[in-house]
């Protein structure tokens, strides 16, 4: 088992055990601030996580006004969702309406950071290597047919660093519906669109992937 799998497995087990100990928790999962899903309990479906991540990212994009997103709580008639900032990651917990939110927050915010700290000491920095990123689609049309997508320079640099400073020329793009395609990649050339968490995809490729502007896609680098 590779280190990142060990890390994910340990966190998944932690979340599942917290859920077993606190039946008021219906779902729980963890993702990084760049939108990479780290682990979820065994009961939470992938599509649920992806939808939640999409909602989170829309808020995160606008939260600069209040100094970034730390915690986000939604209270409804039938339940609550808490998204809490823990060690550069976010923990999502969906709990029942009568749950003692303060107690659960105390439990999760003690146990999860402790496990994260422990894992980081045993398995150093497993999440920094060429991890998939979730980005929002921005389309553009090209005179000549091309399958080159554009992402932020910083993301390419980060991937390059994790692959021994080799240039990243290709990426795999995956939609929420599971459609995938391999594309060439370069940095975003329009300064107005840089550092906005978007991926620019030619309209023709969007059509093939059945994805529209504003929708999230997952992108991961192809090792050079």
């Amino acid at each position: 088992m590779v280190k990142s799998e060990l890390y994910t497995e340990a966190l998944r087990n932690t979340l599942t055990e917290i859920r077993n100990a606190c039946p008021d928790i219906n779902n729980s999962f963890i993702f990084t601030k760049d939108g990479t899903i780290v682990a979820g309990d065994t009961e939470t479906a992938d599509i649920t996580i992806k939808k939640a991540l999409n909602s989170f990212q829309k808020v995160a994009e606008k939260a600069g006004t209040i100094g970034g997103l730390h915690n986000f709580y939604v209270n409804g008639d039938k339940g609550k969702v808490h998204i809490s900032h823990i060690n550069d990651m976010y923990l999502v917990t969906a709990i029942s309406k009568d749950a003692d939110a303060n107690y659960l927050r105390s439990v999760t915010q003690v146990i999860v950071p402790t496990i994260l700290k422990l894992l980081e000491s045993i398995i150093p920095a497993p999440l920094k290597s060429g991890q998939p990123q979730q980005l929002t689609v921005n389309t553009f049309s090209e005179f000549f047919a091309s399958n080159t997508v554009q992402v932020d320079h910083e993301l390419l640099a980060q991937w390059s660093e994790s692959f021994g400073r080799k240039d990243i020329n290709e990426v795999e793009v995956e939609t929420l519906g599971g459609e995938t395609t391999r594309c060439r990649v370069k940095e975003i050339d329009d300064p107005n669109l840089q550092r906005k968490g978007i991926i620019r995809i030619p309209e023709r490729v969007c059509k093939a992937l059945e994805v529209n502007k504003g929708e999230p896609v997952k992108i991961k680098p192809i090792e050079p």
Binding site: A52, S55, K62, T65, I66, G67, L69, G76, D77
Partner: protein, 143 residues
């Protein structure tokens, strides 16, 4: 041609305030209850907005928007954030089957915001990070 009878809510709405306050809330129609709650809300909001640490509020009804922010240059940013947060809250509610949303809280590094929803009316209060949004929500006394 016979004159149309006015709806009961409108008649009651025009009663003198001292008489209105003696009415039993449990006998009110949902629409009237909402009007009653909104009346209380405006009063409580006026008290809350002058507290230290309160940055301002945005109150949207289907017909109007009231904005009171200490820094008017941030009106657009705050308005966009407020509607984005509410939309994301509704999406999360659908994803996790939370039912009807009544409160959404967002905490940033510098500022916290509390959004409350009453039917088609949304109130967002922006406050300093040192304040407790739950306390503000309690003081709004939304029934």
């Amino acid at each position: 041609m016979p004159r149309k009878t006015k709806p009961q809510e409108e008649k009651i709405e025009n009663l003198p305030s001292e008489l209105e306050s003696t009415m039993n809330e449990s006998t009110m129609s949902p629409k009237l209850k909402l009007q009653h709650s909104l009346g209380n809300l405006h009063t409580n909001l006026e008290n809350i907005k002058n507290r230290e640490g309160i940055i301002g509020y945005i109150f949207r009804t289907p017909k109007s928007v009231s904005i009171d922010l200490k820094d008017p240059t941030k009106i657009i940013d705050y308005a966009v954030l407020s509607s984005t947060v509410l939309e994301a809250g509704e999406n999360l509610s659908n994803t996790f089957e939370l039912g009807r949303i009544h409160k959404v809280t967002l905490e940033g590094k510098d500022i916290k915001m509390l959004t409350v929803k009453m039917d088609d009316n949304h109130l967002t209060i922006f406050m300093d990070k040192t304040l407790d949004p739950d306390r503000i929500h309690k003081d709004l006394n939304i029934t």
